[in-house]
């Protein structure tokens, strides 16, 4: 009985994680602008990795491998938002997203 509960919990989390990866992949392909694509890929980095790691930990049980999985989750949480932040900062300061963000406001205004 306990095995069935563990299996269903890990299957539930695995399905959520994989669907997050699917949505992130479709989003990265279909969006036009850089910041939209980054927003879509951040979904994969946070929700996808967290749910898949929890599914693996629940399935394996109390073993030394589970500690390594949690360490992987910690390092991913620590490093991937930093890189996304740096890319977004460069794009916002130096790129043409100011054109993109003001395009809806000033149709026919001066180009900036």
């Amino acid at each position: 009985m306990k095995d069935w509960i563990c299996f269903f919990i890990s299957a539930f989390f695995a399905v959520i994680g994989m669907s997050a990866f699917l949505f992130a992949a479709v989003g990265v392909f279909r969006f036009d602008h850089v910041l939209y694509r980054m927003h879509a890929s951040a979904l994969a980095d946070t929700v996808g990795v967290a749910c898949l790691t929890i599914a693996a930990v629940v399935y394996i049980g109390a073993d030394f491998v589970s500690l390594k999985e949690l360490a992987v989750l910690l390092l991913m949480t620590l490093s991937s938002p930093v890189s996304t932040h740096l890319l977004a900062e460069i794009e916002y300061t130096m790129g043409n997203c100011k054109k993109e963000s003001r395009r809806a406001e000033d149709l026919g205004g001066d180009e900036k």
Binding site: L75, L78, S79, V82, L86, E89, I90, T93
Partner: protein, 289 residues
């Protein structure tokens, strides 16, 4: 003259790949001018490009078929014992008692085939020396850097990397020191250490990483590591070839201080690799250490 101008433009971030000089359009030869030979008229008509494409496809097909035929003649992955020749059998059967290393791969590349690993370290050293020769600014002038957003003092980056960089360095040193006991060794540990130093210099600026990796440090570390490799391994070669007793024993397999000279040689190779990675990065970024 043109080549030198192009190189100067490349070093000053002025070189535009799209406006590079292209070959002129092929000129059709006049019928009344027979003073060009047949082969030169072919080149003017652009026949050498078609020849290049045909030769490229033929060479790719020959190379791919040769490699596939060679691999298909090798034993299947996972089979053993009937295809092994004597050298492989010797390595696997007596490797651990001869070298003292639990990791047979480290034992092979640093004990049986130590000469080849020395050559690889020399190749790395040669690469970073060539980059230094080509790109270094000597006479006090500043490099024309691309104006870009300076991410050095970024708050999020520095605060987060403060927690992460010590673990990267510890992991690199662990992989380096455990070359003879677990997967790893000189090249892997050196690559991780080099990546860690690159991250440190990106996050905290050149002043912080210039405190412990300067040009003098780089020179001393690489040359002394290679010299130590040469001298140490020559001693072992000499005593092994003449049957003398060397004072570097093998120890018990499984200890950290075992396997003869494999641990110090791993450290030497790892230091060379780390300095190479960081040196090439600095040369490309700022053209000075």
């Amino acid at each position: 003259m043109k080549i030198r101008d192009n190189i100067k433009k490349w070093l000053a971030y002025d070189y535009d790949l799209d406006s590079a000089p292209v070959m002129p359009d092929p000129v059709e030869p006049d019928v009344e001018a027979p003073d060009i030979s047949f082969w030169r008229s072919l080149r003017r008509r652009g026949a050498h490009r078609a020849l290049y494409y045909v030769a490229a496809v033929i060479c790719s097909i020959i190379l791919a078929s040769t490699l596939i035929l060679t691999v298909s003649g090798m034993p299947r992955y996972g089979e053993d014992a009937e295809f092994m020749d004597t050298v492989t059998y010797e390595y696997l059967a007596h490797g651990m008692e001869y070298t003292g290393a639990v990791n047979i791969v480290s034992g092979i590349i640093l004990e049986y085939r130590a000469f080849d690993t020395l050559g690889e370290s020399f190749v790395l050293f040669c690469a970073v020396t060539c980059v230094l020769v080509l790109l270094r600014i000597d006479d006090g002038k500043d490099d024309v850097s691309l104006p870009c957003h300076d991410l050095t003092g970024d708050v999020i980056l520095s605060r987060t990397m403060r927690a992460l960089i010590p673990f990267i360095f510890i992991f690199g040193i662990y992989v380096l020191l455990n070359g003879h006991l677990s997967p790893g060794g000189g090249f892997s540990g050196g690559a991780v250490l080099g990546a860690g130093i690159i991250l440190l210099s990106s996050a905290y600026g050149e002043q912080t990483s210039g405190k412990f990796v300067t040009e003098r440090t780089f020179r001393i570390v690489t040359t002394s590591a290679l010299l130590f490799y040469c001298i140490g391994k020559s001693y072992t070669f000499y005593t092994g070839a003449n049957g003398l007793h060397s004072f570097i024993g093998n120890g018990t397999p499984g200890n950290i201080l075992s396997a003869g000279l494999i641990l110090p040689l791993n450290v030497a190779v790892g230091l060379v690799v780390a300095c190479t990675m960081y040196g090439i990065y600095r040369m490309f970024k700022e053209r000075r250490f």
